[in-house]
Symmetry: C2
Subunit: 372 residues, 2 copies
Amino acid sequence: MKVQRICATLCMSLFACLVTPLHAQLPRTIISPEVHPDRTVTFRLVAPQAQRVAVNVPFADGEQAMKKDDNGLWSVTLGPAQPEIYQYAFNVDGLTVVDPSNSWLKVWLRNSQNLMLVPGDEPLFYEEQQLPHGTVNIHRYQSKSLGVTRGLYVYTPPDYEINRQDKYPVLYLFHGFGDSEDAWTVVGRSNIILDNLIAQKKAVPLIVVMPYGHTPVTPPVMRSLGDYAAFEKDIIEDVIPYVQQRYRAGTSQKDRAVAGLSMGGGQSLTVGLGNRDLFGWVGAFSSAVPRDEKLEKLLAEPQSINDKLQLLWIGCGREDFLFKDNQAFLEELKAKNIKYVANITDGAHEWRIWRRYLNEFVPLLFKTAAMN
Amino acid sequence: MKVQRICATLCMSLFACLVTPLHAQLPRTIISPEVHPDRTVTFRLVAPQAQRVAVNVPFADGEQAMKKDDNGLWSVTLGPAQPEIYQYAFNVDGLTVVDPSNSWLKVWLRNSQNLMLVPGDEPLFYEEQQLPHGTVNIHRYQSKSLGVTRGLYVYTPPDYEINRQDKYPVLYLFHGFGDSEDAWTVVGRSNIILDNLIAQKKAVPLIVVMPYGHTPVTPPVMRSLGDYAAFEKDIIEDVIPYVQQRYRAGTSQKDRAVAGLSMGGGQSLTVGLGNRDLFGWVGAFSSAVPRDEKLEKLLAEPQSINDKLQLLWIGCGREDFLFKDNQAFLEELKAKNIKYVANITDGAHEWRIWRRYLNEFVPLLFKTAAMN
């Protein structure tokens, strides 16, 4: 009962000024992380009994120890940091913990991590601005092919609900192994990136469908490691019909694109190359290329791929552990005279890169292709 | 760089079987909490360096110490527990931390807490079942009255996107002081409760609008403590027009209800009683009754309230710290001959009660009222 009692006590003190005629200021709240105008960042954690507290954040080189004041508040100021979205977590006496003052969380396979934004002088392409916003629609649908109820996120562009006659092209966008169907919005900020691209007229207004990428498994294994065939069946037989019944989605091949990151990049190659009558545009970001018989069969039809696809876009960072594999895949495409656009960049296997890839890939869609 | 390195290393080992022809099983994942068939629950946390680890969960009486095995895995089995949704958190050497194995989180004012469900023999009214599901639509809208961009959750009933001609009545549903616009879905499970009520034909299909309840404040104060007037202006001038432009929402007073919990209950009284030409149904759950001049003025018009409202529904638990205040409010309504339905129950100021209230309140809406 202790948790409830603590909550009730806190509530009571907070509500004192509501239920009486008195007004009082709220108790001071810990602000963490606090991003200062010079882009240094202060992290704070109340942990009076801890022996050692540190923070792990990519813009500092290695774990950074924090210092305790007399009230048990640990803090450290780091940076300045480049404008970027960073993941971080605290280390309290050897245990990785999230920042209780920060509600922006990435729920990863094991340990959740916090996210934080260091803003630029000009708004970054994934910063929310004062312009029309699209909607993120969360569905639970019955996958007949998989026999389970699954989550599905759908982004609709600004004023979709108002322009009741228009039809829109659709991008099917797949997450990576560590993620769920919310990752492309919560971490990838796809909705904000799309809002910004559409406002700048860099992208045509479009619908983005973000399904759950794992297929059912038996505990204690928590996630499937890319059963691409079962996933493909769900997309073709369940997700696409579900979306087309509910959204004003274009139904021609040229109005349908597919892309994904890592595991989802492998899935987008399988789904996109394998269903060229359904998808006209394919993107693979830092993808786990499925080196299986099925892909080899698909790549054995270069002429059909070239004829049907408007765009085959392959992005990978040079520090990515999948870089060599992607390089080999590009060599194979070249050897087979399959047309593609390669986007070799800096960076590793990280969301920083995937936000950029989305921002570069989407403006190419649903327009005349420019392939090599 | 350490966080990224850890992630990259983990990714690499996980992907080994994807990018090579070999297949391997995933590394064993910690399952916590694990609910056993007899409704006992095992909590687990890996914390090799910790001196003391305990869990706080309401179905156990007080904080429960956990025991460490040779691998640094702490665990304890508690219960059996009554079927219910519980909040819990770990205490690691004095620090409250969330369970890294559980992604169902309630992000509270300070410390986030995990949620867990102990299922019933028959599915509970807030358990997801295999039946048609509605959609939760997340909007970001520009509040002209407050001068900021704000979040707004909208539930649409099953097949809303398919039945393109139908109009639906609307419930405006407000969260409490510790919450945000996602609380009524993430913690309150309003979407699942509505899916179940609609499938059982206990409720008419309806739209539920869940706005953000706090008004802008200056840091370090993080949340407004119920500036009901500014909130009311946002609802009337921004939220309702935004919703009516985008949804097939009934526009008559009899098609519009308002309810809320705690701070949101106070807001629903202000908004509902103060705009009787807009709202026909008002619910206040464990509400922070605003004992201000404005409410006194509103209550000075009992005849108009009785004529216009189909339902004024007041719910409160006997152990709630706001119970006395709600009792006094009911006395005042009685003294003024204002018609109401009172629902005095067991329970304190807690989500367990608010889920039940929603489940009891919604079936009364948009039908002929039955007041005392």
